[in-house]
């Protein structure tokens, strides 16, 4: 297991390096000159522009800019936001807990609904419970998040007055208020993923329940409950874990529309603002952090696989 982990972490380094080149390179392809934006009123003065370019190293060749940027990143310095006039690291650390809280809540809702529904649907295949679960899943996949969000606000905030319609309260400040402000967006994000998880869990479980080892378990006299929850589920979880890791990665990279509907100050809003304002350091920083989260989650999924499926331990 130790060797396996070391190997996987070793494989991550080139991946991240490649991602950093990609992030930096794509940035250069974006139209618009940041110096012009930063100069503001004085954009007509070539001296000011030259000075800004020199300060930000924009006058150096691209590969030098990249090396400078990467060197700083490796030392934990993600640069300085041109627009907000704050270190990018600080901006990200302010927004990250919001997105992480929302993402984890959404993911928990997705797992709590999607996996049990998939199991029930597989065990009751081609019977009413299966049809109902599939129907709800189809609705979950096809409903746009922003629409569901607006409908929920109309019902729970405007009509019933149970929940605040928008805004965000940090967890550390008041956890009740924090949950109240995030439960609706988390539900909106979670149900869409629940539907996908349900479909995958169902197909993996249907496959697992048809395996010879399930027949062996029945021949041993085990209860159907044990056969489903232990023998079949353990084997069916592998594809579900992969999918779960990817979905969690997507959640943690910020949900632009949902954050917009509920005015939640998370990653989604941060990156959209940064792109529109050509705030390169923020875009680079956020995308890099998201990439690291993705890669880290994939690593976690790989480790989970091995724990679930012992055949991979010697591969």
């Amino acid at each position: 297991m130790g060797g396996f982990l070391l190997r996987r972490v070793g494989q991550i380094i080139p991946t991240l390096l490649f991602v950093s080149i990609l992030i930096f390179g794509l940035q250069q392809l974006m139209p618009g000159d940041p110096a012009l934006i930063l100069a503001g009123e004085e954009r007509g003065d070539p001296q000011v522009l030259a000075q800004i370019r020199a300060e930000l190293n924009l006058d150096r060749p691209i590969h030098e800019q990249y090396v400078l940027w990467l060197g700083n990143v490796l030392q934990g310095d993600l640069g300085f936001s041109w627009r907000i006039r704050e270190p990018v690291g600080k901006v990200i650390i302010e927004k990250l807990p919001v997105t992480v809280q929302l993402g984890l809540m959404a993911f928990a809702i997705a797992c709590l609904i999607g996996i049990p529904a998939g199991i029930v649907s597989a065990v009751r295949k081609d019977r009413p419970a299966d049809w109902i679960a599939n129907g709800i899943a189809l609705a979950g996949i096809s409903t746009p998040n922003f629409w569901l969000g607006i409908m929920m606000i109309l019902l729970f905030s405007v009509k019933l007055g149970w929940l605040p319609p928008s805004g965000y309260v940090p967890l550390a400040e008041d956890w009740r208020q924090s949950l109240a402000t995030t439960i609706m967006p988390a539900f909106v994000l979670g149900t869409g993923i629940a539907a996908v998880l349900m479909r995958h869990t169902r197909s993996a479980m249907v496959q697992a329940m048809a395996q010879d080892y399930v027949r062996t378990a029945r021949a041993k006299g085990l209860a159907e409950r044990v056969i489903v929850a232990k023998h079949a589920l353990r084997n069916a979880l592998v594809p579900v874990v992969t999918l779960g890791a990817l979905e969690l990665g997507t959640l943690l990279s910020g949900a632009v529309l949902t954050e917009q509907v509920f005015t939640i100050p998370g990653f989604g809003k941060l990156i959209v603002d940064a792109v529109f304002n050509r705030d390169y350091p923020v875009v680079q920083g956020v995308v890099l952090v998201v990439a690291v989260i993705y890669v880290g989650l994939n690593l976690a999924a790989d480790v989970l696989y091995v724990l679930i499926n012992p055949r991979l331990r010697h591969a």
Binding site: Q211, D212, Y213, R215, T216, A217, R218, A219, K220, G221, L222, A223, H231, R234, N235, I308, N309, P310, R311, H314
Partner: protein
């Protein structure tokens, strides 16, 4: 004479399919005494595995079993699901053809044996572990303490089948149903597994129902033989009588299909044609379309099982077949 351990009478299995009801097993009867070993023989699709799964009540939901299966007088086909769970594994254990896929890849072999032991007895975890290791040793798995913690993919096919046998025998069942237990294994391993099964049945008194298409395996292990064809019993006899004087043309054909080392043959003998589909059983005797001895009556009227010798019955209008042998 005491009541038999396992008594199957007029067992019939019908599958509900999109094309209507299909009867895969029709009127199968046999009795098995403690410690005896019965082989059920036939080609693929003759219904032998379906009959075995029907006894275990492990058929797919679209199948219906009728008739009677009595285990020490108790009607298995009428037992509640919770009673069935005690019977499965506890009274009647089963092993399967594919040792590679019959064990769960996600759990160690030890866990899977312990699970069976604890399902059927009030045993502490430590005690179950000791019993499981003892059973691994008894099925001749080397270094059983270490194998206990291994996952199935680390073991060879023969080892896995030994694990399956250990798991099945660990709850001391009165009947072990073995569905083609050696078909997926190498010939040398086959012989070892068969002698292991014979030994265990002699030591523990567990009766065995052996399902196979291989007459070599039958000769190795069985006391009695039930030959099935197209869902019905074609012939039933003690193993010696069956090999000496087969009385059903299908049995004769099966024996002709066994290659022998002491005879020079150009081609292996085969039975012409294939087993008909259960969707379209022929009327009359189901073997008639492939039978070399067929007469007009065979095509219209199904022959009943009739005695042809001591403990020997055959379903053939032409039985006994000895006269053909004399003529040939």
């Amino acid at each position: 004479m005491t009541a038999p351990l396992l008594e199957v009478r007029d067992l019939a299995v019908t599958f509900a399919t999109d094309d209507g009801a299909v009867r895969a097993v029709d009127g199968v009867s046999f009795a098995l005494a403690a410690g005896r070993r019965l082989a059920i023989v036939g080609e693929s699709g003759c219904g032998k595995s379906v009959a075995a799964l029907a006894i275990m009540r492990l058929l797919a939901p679209n199948a219906r079993a009728e008739g009677s299966v009595r285990l020490e007088g108790e009607e298995v086909l009428a037992a509640s699901e919770s009673r069935m769970r005690q019977i499965r594994g506890g009274r009647i254990a089963m092993i399967f053809q594919e040792p590679m896929t019959s064990l769960n890849p996600a759990f160690t072999v030890g866990d899977q044996i312990v699970e069976a032991i604890r399902e059927h007895g009030e045993v502490s975890a430590a005690e179950a572990r000791d019993q499981a290791i003892a059973w691994l040793a008894r099925v001749r798995i080397p270094v059983p303490e270490r194998r206990f913690g291994e996952y199935p993919h680390r073991l060879s096919g023969g080892m896995r089948q030994r694990v399956m046998i250990a798991m099945a025998m660990a709850c001391r069942p009165s009947v072990l149903i073995a569905d083609e237990p050696t078909t997926a294994l190498d010939v040398t391993i086959q012989a070892q597994i068969l002698s292991l099964m014979r030994e265990l049945s002699e030591e523990t008194g567990t009766a065995i129902v052996l399902i196979t298409h291989d007459l070599g395996v039958v000769a190795e292990l069985a006391h009695d033989v039930l030959v099935m064809y197209a869902g019905r019993v074609a012939e039933q006899a003690p193993v010696g009588a069956l090999f000496r004087t087969p009385q059903h043309p299908y049995t004769v054909g099966l024996m002709g299909a066994v290659p022998r080392l002491d005879e020079q043959v150009e081609r292996l003998a085969t039975i012409e044609g294939a087993v008909p589909s259960p969707r379209a059983w022929p009327p009359g005797c189901r073997f008639a379309p492939r039978c070399p001895f067929v007469v007009e009556r065979c095509r219209t009227e199904a022959p009943p099982l009739a005695p042809v010798g001591e403990g020997h019955v055959a379903a053939c209008w032409q039985a006994p077949l000895d006269r053909f042998a004399a003529a040939a």
